[in-house]
């Protein structure tokens, strides 16, 4: 198995490459990104490249990869500009799929990491979104629009390339020790924002289950769209209680304006799609992926609990994970120098 991972510079990409390195039948792992990997990797080849079509096509052709793990979809609008989200999500995916579908391509499997943001959040929503359901509100932020556009590209790709197994995973809000997301940041504040009078049902997925789900799709042929979220739901008030934080209410009307001072003072950035979640919440049906055979390590409640525990440790000792910095020359030396004695390869 020869794998191409996009978005190696994101937490997901690095974590995924780390996990893929454990499998012996994964011969080659090529990672693409404009940023350096976040975690130490042993044999993954990192290529600093943007999502330019000609480069992608050359890489796909030259490496003869058979599996593409497309984890480079930006979903955190607080860390990326609209412009960048459009470039990376829409244009990047378009180029990647074009390269994967080019004549003579060896790609036989495509796994896309998407987000449940695609369902939106509104009052007319069903209480449980299944994969085939459509959102009930028109998308009103760039991240949602770009995800919808990407989703259409992937659907077209699956139709045009019936010989490729296309798996699309929609991940719920992520929580974990090593990950930053608007929710994780909100819950790390001394007081946690809420919208006065609203207590939405929410769902979370643990970072371990995210890598687990991506690996599961890599190891098994399961074409289709799947929601990935911890089982069960929890209201926001209970989540704050588990984490042990007091809540500070935002007004229920003109909430977006009220969130602006928080944004400007860099206390916490609550983008419109997160404010929608704090108002209406969103829960997805997770049965399809479990029926496909995936076993979760964490339920929603367990995810929140684990997150609360890691927050407690962090409040005492600070960041407990050793920080990692990618040194190009050192990594090249370890991978390619004849001075390194590699076991098993002789």
């Amino acid at each position: 198995m020869r794998v191409l991972v996009t978005g190696l510079g994101t937490f997901w990409g690095s974590r995924l490459a780390q996990a893929l390195e454990q499998f012996d039948d994964v011969e080659v792992i090529v990672g693409l990104d404009t940023n350096e990997p976040r975690l130490p990797l042993e044999r993954t080849e990192f290529v600093r490249a943007d999502s330019d079509y000609s480069i992608l096509q050359r890489i796909v052709k030259a490496t003869k990869v058979d599996t593409i793990l497309h984890t480079h979809l930006l979903v955190d609008s607080t860390e990326n500009s609209n412009r960048r989200m459009h470039e990376v999500n829409v244009i990047g995916t378009m180029n990647l799929l074009a390269a994967a579908g080019a004549a003579g391509s060896t790609v036989r499997k495509l796994i896309v990491k998407s987000s449940t943001l695609i369902y939106g959040a509104g009052k007319r929503d069903p209480y449980f979104f299944r994969e085939e359901m459509e959102r009930t509100t028109p998308p009103h932020t760039e991240v949602e629009r770009s995800l919808l556009e990407t989703s259409a590209f992937v659907r077209d790709f699956a139709v045009d390339n019936p010989h490729v197994v296309v798996t699309k995973l929609r991940f719920s809000n992520a929580l974990g020790d090593d990950i930053t997301s608007p929710f994780a940041r909100s819950l790390s504040l001394p007081v946690v924002p809420e919208i006065l009078g609203f207590d939405p049902r929410l769902q979370f997925v643990h970072e371990e289950d995210i890598t687990g789900a991506l690996i599961f799709a890599t190891r098994n042929d399961i074409p289709g769209v799947y929601n990935v979220a911890g089982r069960g739901t929890m209201p926001w008030s209970e989540i704050c209680e588990v984490v042990g934080k007091r809540r500070i209410p935002l007004p229920p009307f003109f909430t977006n304006w009220a969130a602006e001072p928080l944004r400007m003072t860099r206390v916490v950035d609550l983008p419109p799609e997160v404010l929608d979640l704090l108002r209406y919440g969103r829960v997805v049906d997770t049965r399809a992926y479990r029926r496909a055979g995936f076993e979760y390590k964490y339920t929603t409640a367990a995810t929140v609990n684990a997150f609360a525990r890691s927050l407690r440790l962090e409040s005492v000792v600070g960041d407990s994970n050793p920080s990692y910095r990618y040194e190009r020359d050192v990594e090249t030396f370890f991978r390619h120098s004849p001075a390194i004695i590699r076991e098993g390869n002789e």
Partner: protein
């Protein structure tokens, strides 16, 4: 068996279409009379419609139920996947009980028709500017049968701060077809629905106890699809607890609400009357359950079949209401 006579407006059919609908109802009634509340209107393929009444996305059949994960010990609250909290509900019951017992003096009839375990769709008439029937029905069933009732209601509630949250904790669920299906089929719960909707609660006092149109019969289709019985419920008393004398269309449009009523309560108690009910005596009659022979989980059901059943259920509730009103000596006692 309940009396199945025809109500007034269908007594002398004027046009051929009315004649046809009259006959359809008659046919259903006879079918029902004949074989213990089992409705079978022949093969559905003959008269099948082009589109499902209640569009539900295609569903893989034999979906396994999805019970709550077993993390009771790490949870702090008891809010279930539907947003209902037994803790909040029991506090609400304690607060509501005096009103139920001494103000409305609710009297039940035929509560044994409601199953103690499996799912069922409870269908009732709806009345009062702020409907007083839903809490009374839910309270009665929960105290007597000890099982939760989920009440389907407008999307409107999900937009209301505080009230919406309380409503959800007390067992309110928005009336999305998929929510109803899931509750009935997969969770086997009791679900209460008012097919009249705001047409029922927004009607004037002079139109009391005359049932409005039962939507497009979506509730029948969902019960058929979920394979659960429909249990019709007739409520007398809610109409008089908060009667609407006038309605202001302009004010309703201005506030963006379904109707803006002037109630008798407001005239009597002033602004307090917006919330205070009159002490009308409540009588609730649970009618015999209606089982459908239609195969569950079909993509769509014949519209004629659905509308026939919907109309039949409406007639039954209407007839029960007239019957109860005939024997009612006083509105208040």
């Amino acid at each position: 068996m309940l009396p199945c006579g025809m109500p007034g407006h269908l007594d002398d059919p004027k046009s051929t279409t009315e004649q046809a609908s009259y006959e359809a109802v008659q046919r259903v009634m006879e079918a029902v009379k004949g074989e213990e509340n089992v409705i079978d209107l022949g093969p559905s393929a003959e008269q099948s419609s082009t589109r499902a009444l209640v569009p539900l996305p295609a569903r893989r059949s034999r979906e396994l139920p999805d019970p709550e994960p077993p993390d009771r010990e790490i949870r702090r609250g008891d809010v279930d996947p539907w947003g209902r909290s037994e803790r909040v509900r029991s506090i609400a019951r304690r607060m509501y009980d005096p009103l139920y017992r001494y103000w409305f003096r609710v009297q039940w009839e035929g509560i044994e028709h409601i199953p103690t375990e499996s799912g069922a769709l409870l269908v009732s008439n709806h009345a009062g500017a702020i409907p007083s029937d839903a809490p009374a029905i839910m309270h009665g069933i929960e105290t007597q049968l000890g099982r939760p009732v989920y009440g389907l209601a407008e999307y409107l509630f999900r937009d209301l701060p505080a009230i919406g949250t309380l409503w959800s904790r007390a067992g309110g669920v928005t009336a999305h077809p998929d929510n109803a299906y899931r509750l009935l089929k997969e969770d086997q719960q009791l679900v209460l629905v008012f097919p009249e909707g705001a047409k029922g609660t927004g009607k004037l006092y002079k139109d009391r106890y005359r049932l409005a149109r039962f939507g497009r019969g979506g509730f029948v289709e969902i019960a058929m699809r979920a394979g659960v019985p429909i249990i019709p419920i007739a409520v007398v008393g809610a109409e008089e607890s908060m009667p609407i004398l006038f309605k202001s269309k302009r004010l309703a449009n201005l506030l963006g609400i379904p109707y803006a009523p002037i109630t008798a309560n407001m005239l009597m108690f002033g602004p307090l009357g917006g919330l205070a009910y009159l002490p009308a005596k409540f009588r609730i009659r649970v009618l015999e359950p209606i089982h459908f022979t239609a195969e569950p989980d079909q993509e769509r059901y014949s519209r004629a079949r659905v509308m026939d059943a919907s109309e039949m259920i409406r007639e039954r509730i209407q007839e029960a209401l007239y019957d109860m009103l005939r024997s009612r000596r006083s509105t208040w006692w």
